[in-house]
């Protein structure tokens, strides 16, 4: 088949942010999958909650609030820094600010991981005691898996930012990583409510 040139693509930019970037769409796909995992785990919580007349079932006590509140406050604080970093990355002007922002996110992420370790003893139940314990630990485990995965991801990204030149596509990578961190923060809020508040009010 003969061809007829009707246009040229050379003038198009060779990188893109957000909706315009393919990577962003892939990330969205995986966040949809993981969101579905969270929704179904929360659905399992609702189902098991409906089967148990008291919640938590005796002799389990309600979880202690303090570590969960500390983690939640740290998450919200990190999100402020995270959004600032995303804005810096999108501007593509200040490599120093981007490196600084990623470093700050690493420190905050590590603080959250450490604070998370204090949450588990305060759940006042174990995964193998009863279905309540199982489903509470499930929610905490799923979220911690995301927290640690994204933190390691940020470590690797940070290492490359310090050892390699930053090109426009790396600004886009940082921007996407910020999007994933927002997902980790937002997904925590319903889990925090279900684990800590629901047993007190429902």
């Amino acid at each position: 088949m003969r061809t007829n040139v009707v246009g040229d693509l050379y003038a198009l930019p060779d990188h893109a942010f957000g909706l315009k970037s393919i990577i962003w769409w892939g990330l969205m796909g995986f966040m949809m999958i993981e969101s579905m995992g969270f929704v179904l785990a929360l659905g399992a919580w609702v189902y098991i909650r409906g089967l148990n007349p008291s919640w938590p079932p005796p002799p389990d006590a309600v979880p202690g609030l303090i570590p969960g509140i500390v983690v939640t406050v740290l998450f919200l604080l990190s999100e402020v820094v995270n959004r600032w970093l995303a804005a810096q990355a999108k501007k593509k002007e200040d490599d120093h600010a981007v490196r600084l922002g990623v470093t700050a996110m690493l420190v905050l992420g590590l603080a959250i991981v450490v604070a998370r370790m204090f949450e588990f003893p305060q759940l006042h139940t174990r995964w193998d005691v009863n279905a309540y314990g199982s489903v509470v630990w499930l929610l905490m485990f799923l979220h911690t898996l995301h927290l640690i995965t994204d933190w390691i991801d940020t470590v690797v990204l940070g290492a490359w930012l310090y050892t390699h030149e930053i090109e426009p596509s790396q600004h886009s990578e940082v921007y996407d990583n910020c999007g994933y961190w927002t997902f980790v923060v937002v997904s925590w809020l319903p889990i925090w409510f279900v684990v800590y508040i629901a047993p007190r009010v429902m």
Binding site: V6, A11, I22, D128, A131, S134
Partner: protein, 656 residues
């Protein structure tokens, strides 16, 4: 093999980007030839085994997906033959009860997770970039990873079977049978991790296809001009994304109950077995549609080509696909009528189950109208379409029957259900799949399949399938239960079982004729040329088989049937790099050119990452700590995967 002529007929302004300053380029033939040579070099794989291991070419990976899934189809088919021989007479002792349990488990698990979903994805992974005019999939390395993980999952199941530790709990592994009380050992764990492997692979493909379809369509291929196969793939991908996490959660919680002593499915400690069924069927029902929606896409493409006209009611077809996608998530409870549900629940799910027959029926009528109002050419692919319509309608009608609770309670766990879902799944997926093989084989290989052998294959399969499965309706109505290794004489079931076994043998002969057809056609088939069927969609503008870069230049389209609209001259856009792997990114709705992005080179890291994933998943069968130590190789593998190509810091100013 033919390659498209490089001649161009001169520049013209871009029709899609009036605001952006496009720079028309006149490529002289000599320059164009040099550019094509450079493209070949840029998109080529390394030679030999290393190239085989590191390739990220969607076509090579799709071909190995196809071959692997087909081999497992044959193995699962042999398991079915063994069961049919066992049932061909009462009180038969050919198979022991334990072996029979393993066989129906591995048959169902393989057909659903290792054959049906992956083989549909394989065809799709091959076709979609070509059909939308892209040079590659959105995430080529993810695609390679997906294949290796899938292979590891398939081998886990079958090596377990060969070592006599294969699962024996049915393809849906209900608790409490699969739980710690009734399934000691690791048979159930192998099943659960096979699920994890294959679902990771399927999800990776789904994300890849969604991104490719939404962001990499050729300029001009607006959503309203997108081929119906791409629509069915998009809906399937979204369904996969929303459905598969449920089975991963169900099987992971099962593993957790077995390994860690959790109580999700333990009623004594506040859990519930029915929770497993809800999670499983929230996946399991959409899974049926995930399997046959690509088949509906095949049917639409084949019907248009061989009816010599566009599919009747294109927009209605798209709406039907989307509504099936939504409704499929509202039906899962009809698999659980026998568990005892609230009456309102029964009524709702009965109504929803009957409602989904409407969009399915709309599609059937549209295909019939297409053939009726076209100039049908009854080549083998169209025969498969007609076989599909007949079979699928029978399966759909028996589905409407069992959607009714009173009848379902009567027929639950009988052979009527076995007949129903084989009519739906083989009718809805395997008939279109064989039609698709016949239709796209020239694109896969550059050669035509034999029409004569193809017709033998079709008729033997159509007859054999109906002889094998239609009597099962009657057996079910007579009360023969599923999953029993034998039955006493005098029940009146012998004759129908013997007929069914005879049908199974005819199906085997039919599949053998297909294998002979493929093997002989690969060597001696008629060279196909680019578009042997005079088909309208864009994949037929590529060479047969396509070059590693698919298209030398980006095609531009202005109708739903671009190759019928533009029979002589294909409009193209130049400007993508020939020296680096580069793809065009377009806008999701209007497919306007938006930016260029680099596409990854071949890499060993997807393979390494799949090995690391395998270590974690196999390790967790034996110890939960595998999740911890397994994180190390996984982190290394994924870091290698994404290792930056850009210069080290401070090295940017150095001379090149």
């Amino acid at each position: 093999m033919t390659r498209p002529p490089k001649k161009t007929t001169g520049p013209a302004p871009s029709p899609r980007r009036p605001k952006k300053e496009a720079t028309p380029v006149v490529a002289a033939p000599v320059i164009a030839a040099a550019a094509d040579a450079q493209l070949e070099e840029t998109w080529a794989d390394a030679p030999g085994f290393w190239g085989w291991l590191t390739t990220v070419d969607h076509k090579r990976i799709a071909r190995r997906y196809l071959v692997t899934a087909f081999i497992f189809f044959l193995l699962a088919g042999l398991a079915a033959v063994a069961m049919r021989l066992q049932l061909s007479k009462p009180e038969n002792t050919l198979l022991s009860p334990a072996r029979y349990n393993e066989l129906f488990t591995i048959h169902g698990s393989t057909m659903m997770f290792i054959f049906a979903v992956p083989i549909m994805e394989a065809v799709t992974v091959f076709l979609i970039p070509l059909m939308v005019g892209a040079r590659a999939l959105a995430f080529p390395r993810l695609n390679a990873y997906s294949y290796w993980v899938y292979l590891a999952g398939a081998l886990t199941l079958w090596i377990g079977f060969i070592l006599n530790v294969g699962p024996d709990i049915g393809w849906f592994a209900y608790t409490p049978l699969s739980g710690p009380e009734y399934s000691a050992g690791h048979r159930a764990d192998i099943w659960a991790q096979m699920i994890t492997f294959t679902e990771i692979a399927a999800l990776a493909v789904a994300v890849n296809l969604m991104a490719t379809i939404l962001k990499m369509r050729a300029p001009g291929m607006t959503l309203s001009r997108m081929p119906l196969f791409a629509w069915s793939t998009l809906v399937t991908s979204l369904m996969t994304i929303f459905a598969l996490p449920a089975v991963m959660l169900a099987s992971s919680l099962l593993m957790s109950d077995r390994l860690l002593g959790t109580h999700f499915y333990n009623a004594a400690e506040g859990g519930d077995h029915i929770l497993y069924q809800h999670l499983f069927w929230f996946f399991g029902h959409p899974e049926v549609y995930i399997i046959f929606l690509p088949g509906l896409g095949f049917v639409s493409m084949i019907t248009a080509t061989f009816s010599r006209r566009p599919v009747f009611g294109h927009i209605v077809m798209v709406l039907a696909l989307i509504s099936i996608g939504f409704l499929a998530f509202g039906l899962w409870v009809h698999h659980m009528f026998a568990t005892g549900l609230p009456r309102l629940g029964n009524s709702f799910y009965t109504a929803a189950s009957m409602a989904i027959a409407l969009p399915s029926g709309v599609q059937i009528f549209c295909w019939i109208a297409t053939i009726w109002s076209g100039r049908p050419v009854f080549k083998t692919p169209l025969l498969w379409v007609i076989g599909f319509i007949v079979t699928f309608v029978i399966g759909g009608l028996s589905g409407v029957m069992v959607a009714s609770v009173p009848l379902d309670l009567q027929l639950h766990d009988t052979y009527f259900v076995v007949a129903h879902f084989h009519y739906v799944l083989i009718g809805g997926a395997v008939f279109p799949l064989f039609g698709a093989f016949q239709y796209w084989f020239p694109k896969f290989t550059g050669r035509m399949l034999s029409e004569t052998l193809g017709k033998w294959h079709f008729w033997l399969f159509f007859i054999g399938f109906n002889v094998a499965f239609f009597p099962m309706h009657i057996l079910g109505l007579m009360g023969m239960p599923r999953r029993v290794y034998t039955y006493p004489s005098g029940m009146g079931w012998e004759r129908y079982n013997q007929i069914a076994t005879l049908g199974g043998v005819i199906v085997v002969v039919s599949v053998l004729s297909f294998i002979v057809n493929v093997l002989t056609s690969l060597r001696r088939g008629v060279p196909a040329g680019d578009n042997p069927w005079d088909a309208p969609s864009l994949e037929w503008a590529a060479t047969s088989p396509p070059a590693p870069y698919n298209f030398a230049h980006t095609p531009v389209i202005s109708s739903r049937e671009p190759l019928w609209e533009q029979r002589e001259v294909l409009p193209i856009m130049t400007g993508l790099s020939t020296a680096e792997r580069e793809v065009l990114v377009t806008t999701p709705v209007d497919a306007e050119p938006d930016n260029r992005q680099s596409s990854p080179d071949p890499s060993i890291w997807p393979f390494v990452a799949a090995i690391a994933t395998t270590m974690v998943l196999i390790g967790t069968i034996f110890s939960e700590w595998a999740l911890v130590w397994g994180a190390v190789p996984l982190t290394i593998a994924f870091s290698g995967w994404f290792w930056p190509k850009r210069p080290r810091r401070g090295a940017k100013q150095e001379p090149q």
